[in-house]
């Protein structure tokens, strides 16, 4: 890779590091893991930087690697979960401004896949289909995981666990 290309990568990473780290944090729930995932994603982007630039949207490229990196990491942890029947799909949860920082704690309490669904679906604003594709699962799984995750988050707020 040329020096000019290296410098372009440096500028890109400096500019996009905060967003990718926050995405990784939301997905992993752990600062150390988030830094590992984000850094690994940028490293992989660097390894194919010419190709990444030609996509015209390196941000989307690295974001996808962050999601994939996280998926690879939690693949080993996941356990089989039965799908419930009819599930609501609500993107709201009761939390006042004073609870927002503590919302991260509630997010951390979710399982890896539920946490990823919440972050991709409700923070990244991905559709159910996009979320399913990103997590390599069915739309039904996204719906069920989202419903369970939201129920858990609501429960914690109602029970005052956020405070």
């Amino acid at each position: 890779m040329s020096g000019e290309s290296d410098e372009e990568f440096r500028q890109f990473m400096r500019g996009r590091w905060p967003a990718m780290l926050r995405l990784a944090y939301g997905l992993t729930g752990d600062r150390g893991h988030a830094e590992d995932v984000a850094q690994a994603a940028f490293a992989r982007a660097y390894a194919s930087w010419g190709r990444v630039q030609r996509t015209g949207d390196p941000d989307a490229y690295v974001r996808r690697i962050v999601i994939n990196e996280n998926r690879r990491r939690f693949r080993k942890q996941r356990v089989a979960e039965a799908l419930p029947g009819t599930l609501p799909d609500s993107g709201t949860v009761q939390a006042g401004p004073e609870d927002r920082a503590a919302l991260l704690d509630a997010l951390r309490s979710l399982g890896p896949r539920q946490r990823a669904v919440v972050v991709l679906r409700y923070w990244m604003d991905m559709s159910e289909a996009e979320t399913a594709a990103a997590l390599n699962c069915s739309v039904g799984t996204v719906k069920s995981q989202a419903s369970r995750a939201l129920a858990t988050l609501r429960g914690k707020i109602v029970e005052g666990e956020l405070r």
């Binding site: 400096r14 850094q39 940028f42 390894a47 010419g50 996808r64 991260l104 988050l153």
Partner: protein, 373 residues
Amino acid sequence: MSDLRENLNEALRAVNPGDPPVEEAIRRGKAIRTRRRIGVTAAVAAVAVLAGAGYPALTHRQAAPGPVTPSHKHVRVTDVPPGPHAPAGTIATGIIDGKAWQVTTDNPKTNGTPGQVCVGASGPAFGGSGLQPVCYQPPPVGAANPVGWESLAVPGDAQASTGQVGAGVSYVLVRLSDDVTLKLIPVKAYGTRYVAFASPPALPVASATAYLSDGQYLTSVPFNLPDGIPVFGQWQSPGQRVQAQVMRRIAAGSADGKAWAVEAHIGPWGACFVDTGLAAGQTTWACVDDSTPMGTQMLSLPGDSAGVVVGSAAADVRYLTITLTDGAALRVTPVEVGNQRYFAFYLSKGEAMVRRWTAYNAAGKQLASGKLG
């Protein structure tokens, strides 16, 4: 009721990102590119401070050879050349257990790196999101090396192997461990002939045979990494004597709070070294051509700041001393595996690197030395 998205947005914005580790990412990126290459030679990685314990507690364990261990009997795999309406750059398509895959290459004139080729794989067989494109300097192809293979994989999902094909190759037969045979017809993409195939980790690759237009053929038996990636090395003619398969652990210990162990796998592919102490889904490895005596040198496993360094030793070398840049020193003993002798040690996170090595015979006489870095 407040919107979850707003709450998440504000909560995550409160996360202080700190300084971006740009140089570390670049270094790791370079290591990724290096790891993808077959045939690591005597290059030495920038490695770091030696942690006190755990090096190199050599153990000797002779194990049954054979990187190919069929473990799945009901996986259906196909491989077909792209149809007339396939997108430009498509090398091959196929199915693994009902899940489709495609392997494609970019136009080398527009991929931005002269001399490199970029290969990617996509489809449900690769977990939906596909494999990130890999750009690499293709190995030369010719009479002795009819296919220049490159492999990439998502740990736990399928692997994809693709290769530039010499002009004289009519087709390539790839045999998987359950006796499934894939016939690969070379496809011309952007002026270069390629073949490609994909296979699941449960079906390691047993061999690839390139059939030439003059009726001759050459066979390559790969080493299969723990995550299912085949590493192709040497090609053999019919009747040519091949290296017997031997596996031996050449060093093991613990450092940075984790166990490490290096196994040397000798066979028709050459000599491959794998750090078996890493977590599932991670593999650090290097393969070298061992067809000629390697003498005493470092054969590094390039990677992150911490990791295993592997070296070879001449026949009369009994031990080596390794001096690090911080002045620390360690002593390693080579182990005979196949026709060569190898050693390994672990360097953990920090700033020190290997500075120099010195080899001694059984009488303590200095035989050779070298500087690194």
